[in-house]
Symmetry: C2
Subunit: 140 residues, 2 copies
DNA sequence: CTATTAATTAGACGAAGTCTATTTACGTAT
DNA sequence: ATACGTAAATAGACTTCGTCTAATTAATAG
């Protein structure tokens, strides 16, 4: 989680990234990985589907399954800020988000710019998955 | 926004709460207000629709319009934590959220239990609407 | 090669929310 | 009160995002 991953350009780099996260590298997964890991970015499943299908075809179900799997394995992060769709964030480093509610834009905020100095105590049978900080803004 | 509102039980109390927030108190809005302000709680639009329609009928469109209006006027807060639906939070005091990703439960965290000691500097033409802190957890 | 399991697929389906065109209620002036 | 103009509510079609199912294809182990 605190590992600084490279942004792989080549097919081989994507393959080894998948393997690192215990994901069997199939043709479709490599393709999807190649799209989202080409740079740190936020994409919705629909955007991934559209991007991937510019060349050959990957089914809708596979795109959704694959992004869900990537998220489960910690390879991407689901960002829930827009009520109408989930964003998948390929930036693996710890960070927070700035959301422009007027335009739907989503930006990263490096974690050193936000400091949470106090969190509530939780019962011991509860595991924290994530602490999301979302700064919702709009332009004047 | 920092006003500690009562949780109105009577129709008259709901009416004056609506007026305070510049909302024309119609029959349907009062009904919806009565449901969500009976106690501090999180409800989805569908839940509000179901609750309201146990007695007489309010249309789906009106429930969605009304909750949207309430949110716009600052009378309720939209909580976006579950990718499948928006929650409307009738707790008007400043607070954060604890979300159980396994069950979908949503709990309030009083703002004194979370301290954000640093926020990024933002361009002057940008207005902060809200800083949401969501602690995503699951049980063992 | 064969069996077993994992992954992919098309397309039907579902849920949440939006939109449109019409009707109803409401406020104000007469 | 009545008439007029605007705001609100309505039914139901529609859209979008996402899930599910049942069948096919690919991968892997023996």
């Amino acid at each position: 989680m605190d590992e600084k991953a490279e942004f792989p350009k080549s097919r081989a780099e994507v393959v080894s990234l998948l393997k690192e996260y215990d994901i069997t590298p199939t043709h479709q997964r490599i393709k999807i990985g190649h799209v989202i890991f080409s740079q740190p970015q936020h994409m919705s499943a629909e955007q991934v589907l559209a991007a991937v299908n510019q060349s050959d075809e990957v089914s809708k179900a596979t795109v959704y399954n694959t992004l869900g799997l990537f998220a489960k394995q910690g390879l991407v992060r689901e960002v829930i800020v827009d009520p109408s769709k989930v964003f998948y964030d390929s930036n693996l480093s710890k960070h927070h988000h700035l959301y422009y509610s007027d335009t739907g834009e989503l930006e990263d905020i490096a974690s050193e710019h936000v400091k949470i100095s106090k969190l509530p105590e939780l019962p011991s049978d509860i595991q924290i998955e994530d602490v999301d900080v979302i700064i919702r803004v709009h332009r004047n």
